[in-house]
Structure formats: C-alpha cells, structure tokens
C-alpha cells in the first residue's frame, strides 16, 4: 500500500518498524528449534514465544554432515498450520532465492543462518528487499552492524550451534555488549575510525552509541542447553534466547522446554531457577568446544 495519511488507512506493510517490532514482541522469550508439527505443539505448550522450523537440528547436521539446506516448504507449512505462535525458518547465507521461497510461504521470520551450508562465501542477502523480517547471527559488534546495514531486523549472537556448550554464546554476547560499552565512553571524533576498524556502517555505530544498545533486538543462540544457561545469557544482557538441539536432544523435552521458559522469565530469581532446574532429565550429551577442530566450527561462517 502507498503512503496515505487519511484516518485509519494503512500506510505501509512490511516497513522496518513492523519487522523490528515483531522481534520486540519476542523479547524475554524462548525460540525453540522444531522438526515436526508435534514438536512445534510441545514447544508452544511449554510457552515458547516462537518456533524455528527446520529439517534437522544443528546437532544432527553436525553428526550427519553433507550440505544443509532450507527445509521442504511443505514441512514448514505443516508446522505453520500446527501452532498459533510465530514460525521462523532458515535460509542459507547469501541464498536469496531460498529467502524468496520462505517469504512466499509466509513464514514470520527468516534466519539467514550459518547453521546451514553457506551458498555465498562473500555476500549476505540484501534483506531490505523483503517484506518479511530477517534475523542474522554475529560474533561481534562489527558483524552485527553489517547485518543490520543489510536489513536484518533482529540479531542473535552465534554461539556454537549443536554443541550444548554455552561457552561460545557467552563469548559472543560478552564481545558485542563489551564493544557497545566501550563505544559509549568514546568521544565522537573517534567513531569514524572505530567504524572503520570493526567494518561497520558509521551511521549505525553512531546510533548504537546514542542508544547504548544494538538498534534491534539481540537474542543469544548456540549451545544453550539448561535453564541455568538461559538465565546466564539473560543476566549477561541479551533480550531472549534461541534453544536449538538443547531441548529435543535431551532426555525429557517437555519438562526441559518448560523449565527453560520459566528460567528465561525469572532469570534474576535464583530460587525459581533452582526449582525449575530440578529433576528435568538428562541434558543433551554435547560436544566440548575445545575438542572441536576449527574447520568444524559453524560460527566461523558469515562475513
């Protein structure tokens, strides 16, 4: 619809405000990876604020190898029909046709994700061209602001997907938030050189300094496996959490999903986090990051 200013007339579908706005509605919540409509229903029932529809969770992508691509649209549709909460789906980095397909199906958010095998080793998708919003991964402030410059309406720190080891999620969140704190204490004459050094658009560097936070919502992802992990990321200062393999690769997904939701809401209340951590079955087995060869680290994908 065009710009009209008559009372009550819609003056825009798919503007940046509504794209970034949906992410604001997800804050304080848990977004869960699901591979079937039944898992999606379990996630919704547990209190997930959105689900990520995919064919294989990162732990399986890691174990099985091969090229990881966008999921079958029919399978994504099945998940969209099974729940009332927003449904996200992943496209490969740089694969704008997969993103066009996801837009055509009508998913609520596209994750341009390093968890899938990149389709372009130099360029990401130009996300401003789309009516649906995108979330992208980052390891540091420069990467976050480059993605926002390309049109990402939500950011997640990458962590190391499919490991169940929270150490990289902590490293990336601390890096982004630490760089923002440093930026806030910088006089304006230093901003251009800072922008050059981190490879970020100057206008977004300036805006981040003024806001004292990223200009869009920032979740943590990659390795969160327990209620305590979720509360840890929230206390470090992210807006919400993605949990991938951590739920449906655990011993009791129903209990664990619910416990992680509760720990994310009550992240500042150790009594509650303690109570919900009790008796929730085995956590996913996990892979210690320090045992993972550099070549197998997913977070290194993205530029």
């Amino acid at each position: 619809m065009s710009d009209q200013n008559e009372n009550g007339t819609a003056r825009g579908i798919g503007g940046f405000k509504v794209k970034a706005g949906l992410a604001q509605m997800l804050k304080g919540g848990v977004i869960m990876d699901v591979v079937t409509p039944d898992e999606a229903k379990i996630a919704e029932e547990a209190g997930a604020c959105a689900v990520m529809a995919l064919e294989r969770v990162p732990a399986d992508i890691r174990a099985q190898g091969g090229v990881a691509r966008m999921s079958d649209p029919e399978m994504i549709r099945g998940i969209m029909e099974s729940v009332s909460i927003p449904v996200m789906a992943k496209a490969r980095i740089g694969h704008f046709v997969e993103a066009q397909i996801l837009e055509s199906i009508g998913v609520d958010y596209v994750d341009e994700s390093e968890v899938l095998t990149p389709a372009d080793e130099e360029y990401h998708i130009y996300k401003h061209d789309f009516k649906i919003p995108f979330v992208c991964g980052c390891r540091n402030l420069g990467e976050a602001l480059r993605r926002i410059g390309e049109g990402a309406a939500m950011i997640r720190t990458k962590g190391e997907a499919g490991t169940g080891d929270v150490v990289e999620a902590v490293r990336h969140a601390r890096t982004v938030l630490g760089e923002i704190r440093k930026l806030q204490s910088m006089p304006d004459e230093e901003l251009m050189t800072f922008a050059k050094n981190i490879g970020a658009p100057f206008a977004l560097v300036k805006e981040t300094k003024e806001l004292g936070r990223l200009p869009v919502v920032n979740f943590a992802a990659g390795g969160i496996a327990t209620p305590a992990d979720a509360a840890l990321m929230m206390q470090i200062g992210v807006d919400g959490v993605f949990v991938g393999s951590g739920i449906f690769k655990s011993g009791d997904p129903v209990k664990r999903a619910k416990a992680i939701v509760e720990a994310t809401t009550h992240y500042n209340n150790p009594d509650i986090v303690a109570r919900v951590s009790e008796n929730i079955g085995e956590a996913m087995v996990g892979i210690n990051i320090s045992s993972l060869p550099e070549m197998e680290q997913i977070a290194r994908r993205g530029w």
Binding site: G8, M25, G29
Partner: protein, 190 residues
C-alpha cells in the same frame, strides 16, 4: 503514581521507558507480590499463549483479576487478547473485559502494517495516532459498557475502553508518540 508492567514476556521495557520519560515510577510484575502498591497496570505485547501460561504457572490469574476489579489496566496487542472474555479458542485468559477478540486477525507477519488513527474522545484537532500493527488481533465485538475508541478505514475495531480498562490491538510503546500513555495515566488518576 506507580504503574506496573506485566513482565512475563514481551515488550515490557518499551512501556517502562515511556512511563519513566513521563516521570512515572514503574515496576516489573512477575509474581503476585509485585502487584502491591501499584496504581495501574499495563499488559504489554508479546505472545499471548506464553504470557497466559506463565501467569497460570505463577498463580497470577486471581491476583490480576482482583487488581483489575479496582484499578486501571491497559492491554496492548497480546494484552488485549489476555483481557478479553472471549477469543474463540482455548487458552488462559483474564477474561475481565466484555469484548470478543480474534487473534492474528489481519494475517501473519507479512501482513503487519502501520496506520494513522483518529481516537474517539480525543480533541478533533489532535494529529492522528501512528499505530503499529504486528500480527495484530482485532475486536470483533464490544459488549455491555465496553466502547470502541478507534476504527480502521475498513471498519475493523482496534481499540476500546470499558471504565478503567483499555485495550489497543496496536503498539503505542513502539512509537515516539506518548499520547496513549498519557491518556492511560489520566484514566489511572481518575
């Protein structure tokens, strides 16, 4: 004056920021005890299923209903769903306001939009309000003393008031325009 914002999930910080800019004391509400000494409550946008489930798990439903029986409450988007008596599907609801609401009535995220709205009861010369609709619910019907206060060009009802209770299917907390927050503070002060 002290206003609480239900902080189980969703865009509660956005409401708190605007209230603070207006010089109002605020509190995040996650447990029944957090409702003590509040003059009014905002239920923010977020996922209504998530908010409802957490409210049930943490025994907030009855305390919230008791609070609303005496004090002003404003629900935005998910908050509007949560306050409704009837939404046609089964999920936890406060069920205080005499309205029928349809979830995601405008479609999915691809259909989310912005619109300029004239608000009933506001001065005729007031600028239209820049309303942001995100996977928004719609008011299908207002009953008893509930009255619609904003309507889209296609006739969709998107805001209503019933005494000290107000609902908007859009998000004033996502705009720089603080008139709805000031309007709510007027209701609280009455």
């Amino acid at each position: 004056m002290k206003i609480g914002v239900l902080a189980l999930q969703g865009a509660f910080i956005e409401h708190i920021k605007i209230l603070r800019q207006l010089g109002v004391e605020t509190a995040e509400v996650r447990l029944p005890a957090d409702l003590a000494d509040l003059d009014g409550l905002i239920i923010p946008g977020g996922e209504s299923t998530t908010i409802g489930k957490l409210a049930v798990m943490y025994n907030l439903m009855e305390p919230l209903r008791q609070f609303a029986a005496e004090k002003a409450v404003w629900g935005t988007c998910a908050g509007m769903i949560f306050m409704a008596k009837d939404i046609g599907v089964d999920q936890p609801l406060l069920g205080i306001m005499d309205i029928v609401v349809e979830r995601n009535a405008f479609g999915r995220q691809v259909d989310s939009f912005e619109a300029d709205l004239r608000i009933e009861g506001w001065p005729a010369e007031a600028k239209p309000f820049p309303a942001v609709f995100i996977r928004a619910p719609k008011l299908i019907e207002t009953k008893e003393t509930a009255q619609p206060i904003a309507t889209l060009a296609d006739g969709s009802l998107v805001a209503a008031q019933q005494g000290k209770w107000m609902v908007t299917s859009f998000h004033p907390e996502l705009t720089l325009d603080d008139r709805f927050h000031r309007y709510f503070l007027d209701i609280v002060g009455r």
